[in-house]
Amino acid sequence: MNRDVLAQTGGPGDAAPPVACLRDVTLRYGKVHALSEVSLDIPAGCMAGLIGPDGVGKSSLLALIAGARKIQAGQVEVLGGDMTEASHRRTVCPRIAYMPQGLGKNLYPTLSVFENIDFFGRLFGHDGGERARRIEALTLATGLRPFLDRPAGKLSGGMKQKLGLCCALIHDPDLLILDEPTTGVDPLSRRQFWELIGRIRHTRPGMSVVVATAYMEEAARFDWLVAMDAGRVLAAETPQGLLKHTDTRSLEAAFIALLPEDKRRGYRPVEIPPRPAEADGETAIEARDLTMRFGDFTAVDHVNLRIQRGEIFGFLGSNGCGKTTTMKMLTGLLPPSEGRAWLFGHEVDPHDLATRRRVGYMSQFFSLYTELTVRQNLELHARLFHVPVEEIPHRVEEMIGRFELAGVADMLPGALPLGHRQRLSLAVAMIHKPEMLILDEPTSGVDPVARDAFWRMLVELSRHDGVTIFISTHFMNEAGRCDRISLMHAGLVLATDTPAALTKQRAADSLEDAFIGYLEDATAVVEADAPLRSDRTPAPMPAQATATEAGPHGWRRFFDPRRVVSYARREALELRRDPVRLTLALVGSVILMFVMGYGISLDVEDLTFAVLDRDQTTVSRDYTLNISGSRYFVEQPPITDYDDLDRRMRAGKLSLAIEIPSSFARDIARGRAVEIGAWIDGAMPTRAETVRGYVQGMHAHWLATKAREAGHGDALAGLANLETRFRYNPDVKSLVAMVPAVIPLLLMLIPAMLAALSVVREKELGSITNFYVTPTTRLEFLLGKQLPYVVLSALSFLLLTLLAVTVFGVPLKGSFLTLTAGALLYVGAATAVGLLISTFMRSQIAALFGTAVLTILPAASFSGMIDPVSSLQGVGRLIGEIYPTTHFLTIARGTFSKALNFSDLYASFIPLALAGPVLLGLSAVLLKKQEN
């Protein structure tokens, strides 16, 4: 609409050049336009806010400004330079700090508060003293000082965001970019967060702050605002200007007024008629001293409540304060640790499925089956709630009509806008006509228009159908619409009353202020013994003058060992705290060594055999003894006839059956031709072949012995001798042969997999953004990731070698030093293979199986483990010649079995030494420094 007019009015920073200029910026994810031709000048030195619901392109816009995402079309200038140029990005990135969306998204949850900040300090090249000073100042200012050793994952939402801020501010940025920093955080922490930002801006007046937020109340306090919808800028000016232009009194109303015509159509403000008086009296839910403990953690602490039929009852509180758990206990979904609850006068029994039929539930994630269509979702739920079969079609139609889903009934929920999915979730929850609805944060992420439409439906359900509605939210204006609300914090109900009464009790201007008042009382009690309170002792921010210039000089700009060490340290810490990956790294290779050592073994002993002896003479018994006397065969009870033979072979009881014909001894004595029959179980060809070899050998041996006994040895002996020397492994033991070959295979598979996972994991969890927006170069990042795994794999190598020598009894005949040197080069190459694979994998599961396939196939088939490379042809031969496993296999076999040392094997070291650097270089070229 009148975007151009509004955009020109500008903000308070008119005098200074804008901190960021965007011209015709367009961004697409596949077919979806995240941003369409956005042009914008963001003024410098002020608080600029991006407002609008989820999914309108706010985050994409911020990521482009931060340089974290690749610019597809248009021009983005930040801090006076073009962000498409890598050199400019490298220059300005130490001046920009970026906190992506999601609580603690750029933090490492297993690392402590101190370790998190320390990691960022090291990335920006601060030395030990500098880091200690800065960390102290920042944690004092944010009140995180008492929690330095606590893992980031165990902090509350508000504390996570403060920690995120510490990490962002460690290098004194000129531009601070915050993407929804307060979503899901309780109002007190929210207020503290903004006070903190205020103080920081006070000490660093030149700093520009760009914030995206879904809370209109917060946005009203910013200096300058951009309203966005569907990838377009609706308006950009001061909050006062916005209100004036749209002629509205609240930003929420102003935003709705700015929306295009078709979105606003049908919009009506929510009106809540008073509850009819006669409904009073009947209690729908009652709770006494409800308590829930998970281990040491008390999620809900002695909650008392009484909710009346038809009431809209709200729970207000931050993420993880116990709202959801309380709701579930109240309705019998979760057995409480302590306390009792009554539903419509009956005591709640979690094992009574009948209770569930009276309750409809809608969770915050709209947990629908995305693989089923809208109609199928409704039908499934109707069936599971035992709606009578003949009534189902009617009921489904009714829901589709009532919740306005007719147009989308045969679509998949995943393809629907959030507002529709929200209505579908409600329809699903209502399909069995429950007397009570439990709605757990049902409006997160939905735009204001859809949110109000949703509320109108709730009001109708409550007032018209008499459904008791129990809803949790963190939006203050929604809480204000409830008949009564409970304020919750850390498992405690702080107060319960009507919104108006609560506001009045605290003598506050708004419900938010009232809530903050209650929170302050509650936290004052909890933290009374904590020596430092952030808002009481505001510490000075780190002085700028003493700060070393963040950008290092000379070669260190492109390769700084300190950043490598910083990444390596962090990776090692994380790995140490992840039991599953650590187990795989150390125990995994040991387990697999056992499996392969025995699983690929071809040493067959103790095979079963039985004899059908029709002769029963000493000669025939001697023949049998010849077989049963060997270690390969174990004799079973004799075979009685052909039927017996057939039956026992079919049952797999006999691997070999021998038939000695009658008059065997007599015929031999007379020199007549006799033939012994032997049947081998061919179900398993390898075993059958071995059996055949054994039998032939034993038969020949028996003949030779007999001939010698008879005194005509020469006649039977061959014409020439073939003297076979089994070299390196004289007993021809599989284990001796297999174990030195399994070690190279495992040292390729597992290190490559771990290295690939380490990078892809960051991509999936989002902390890769830290690599995108800090001065870390690709090589530093990759080397830092690789180092811990090289060390770990070297340990694994020692463990495997020890196992081979002790448990498997495979002697190491050659030089141990040569083997170790080869192994170090090899695991370097193997981890680099993993890093290379990680550059084109997006999800961990793909990386896992991709790496398995891409390493096992060449390592097992083309590297000489089974067939030597010299007997391969074509592509397999080519891969075999260059693949690192080939060369390490030669070294491993050479040192283990062939008693060789470095001078015999140096030819295999050259390709092995080249492989690591080449693969690493290739990965560095392919790794992207920005998100696509």
């Binding site: 309705t331 979760l334 499925l353 569930r356 039929r357 539930y361 994630f365 947990s367 089956y369 693989e371 069936r383 599971l384 709630f385 599953v580 995994g588 697999l592 392969m596 699983g599 690929i600 071809l602 067959v604 103790d606 072979m649 079919r650 049952a651 797999g652 031709a673 006799v674 012994i676 049947w679 081998i680 061919g682 179900a683 398993m684 060809p685 072949e689 032939q696 038969h699 039977l716 014409l719 020439a720 073939l722 003297e723 076979t724 020397r725 070299r727 492994n729 004289p730 021809v732 042969a737 996972l757 999800s843 961990q844 199986f849 000489g864 030597p868 007997s871 079995s897 062939k898 060789l900």
Partner: protein, 373 residues
């Protein structure tokens, strides 16, 4: 417990599966292409074994012996000197080196029983053992044929009539195809149920199910039957169209009996999948667990190498795995044509293991779900 719930939830699982292209591709791949390649790519015992010959005789006989080695069993032999032999074997270039001594032919014809030396790189198990047998036979045959032109040779007095039952040609593709079916049955049933459970947890839909009047037992049973059914149908297809049809492997016994055994096995493995799904907190963790579980199951169950080749302790431990019994059962029915009278102990063993796994998984499932709620 309501059978209708189990039915509807199971149908839901099937519907979900039809919308998951990755899993569908995996199933299709596992029961067609994967079986075909496993069957046909199974290398014959001796495949292009590299052999070198040190010919110090250079006689017609030594030439005759040298020319008897050719592909596909051997690569064409390289002629090397005595000095080169050790270095080449150390570097792993040759598996076999045949040393024909000087004056070999003359000594042979003079009846002096000369000796040929065969050096074998015994670190290369796959070729060393069978290969040396082949070489022995080839050399003996050539020598005999050569010598026969000059004098009579006595036949040995006692013959040995070796017959291989069930697979007379010891055709490895017969074995490879069916073992691949078995491996894929195990792999897919674990992956499908485990992944389905984790996906539901990640999407929060399991939580959603719990607020409905359904019990964990019903949720779990529905997954077991739905995923078991899919794998059963796919393996029946694979057995009839891939194994019998395309690969024309003869099946001796009753396919119906085998499929009955497969259903019992699936009961055990799908329960195992659910159990693993409750242990892992995310897909990547599930993947890592899978690596450590699936490989031992497949390699130590007797489907790859004979159980007799494993240490006794491993054999005993593996009796606790359903795969071991399933492999026995499958081999008995499909290759040896055994009937229920023969394989009933395996049926009972798998059912017992399955019941234990199901109970374990159900207990664990209830617990995780209680922790989630």
């Amino acid at each position: 417990m309501r059978a209708a719930n189990i039915l509807h939830l199971g149908v839901k699982e099937l519907r979900s599966l039809t919308r998951d292209p990755i899993m569908l591709v995996l199933i299709a791949y596992a029961f067609t292409f994967s079986i075909y390649t496993a069957a046909t790519a199974m290398p014959e015992t001796l495949n292009k074994a590299p052999i070198a010959i040190v010919d110090e005789d250079r006689s017609p006989l030594s030439g005759r012996i040298s020319s008897a080695f050719y592909p596909p069993y051997f690569v064409l032999p390289k002629f090397i000197t005595q000095a080169e032999m050790d270095a080449r074997m150390d570097a792993g270039l040759d598996t076999f080196a045949l040393n024909i001594p000087p004056e070999f032919q003359r000594d042979l014809l003079a009846g002096r029983r000369p000796t040929i030396q065969l050096n074998v790189d015994a670190t290369r198990m796959s070729q060393a053992f069978t290969g040396s047998g082949y070489i022995q036979t080839i050399v003996a045959d050539e020598v005999r044929a050569f010598a026969q032109r000059y004098r009579d040779i006595a036949e040995p007095p006692v013959g040995l009539a070796l017959r291989v039952r069930f697979n007379p040609q010891l055709n490895k593709s017969w074995f490879g195809a069916i073992m691949q079916v078995i491996n894929n049955v195990t792999m897919l049933s674990i992956v499908l149920t485990g992944a389905a459970l984790i996906r539901e947890r990640e999407h929060g839909t399991v939580e959603h199910l719990l607020v409905m009047p359904v019990t964990p037992f019903e949720i779990m049973t529905s997954k077991v039957w739905a995923m078991g059914f899919v794998v059963l149908a796919a393996s029946a297809f694979a057995l009839v169209f891939m194994v019998q049809g395309l690969l024309s492997v003869p099946i001796e016994g009753s396919i119906a009996l085998f499929l009955a055994g497969t259903s019992v096995h699936l009961f055990a493995t799908t329960s195992m999948g659910i159990f693993l799904g409750t242990l892992a907190r995310s897909m990547p963790q599930f993947g890592l667990l899978l690596m450590l579980i699936l490989l031992p199951l497949q390699m130590l169950s007797g489907g790859t190498t004979p159980r007799e080749s494993m240490p006794e302790i491993v054999q005993y431990i593996m009796l606790a795995a359903p795969n071991t019994h399933f492999v026995m059962l499958a081999q008995a029915i499909l290759y040896r044509g055994a009937g229920l009278a023969v394989v009933w102990p395996q049926f009972i063993a798998i059912a017992a293991i399955g019941a234990a796994l199901f109970g374990l998984a159900l207990a664990r499932f209830r617990k995780t779900i209680a922790a989630m709620a």
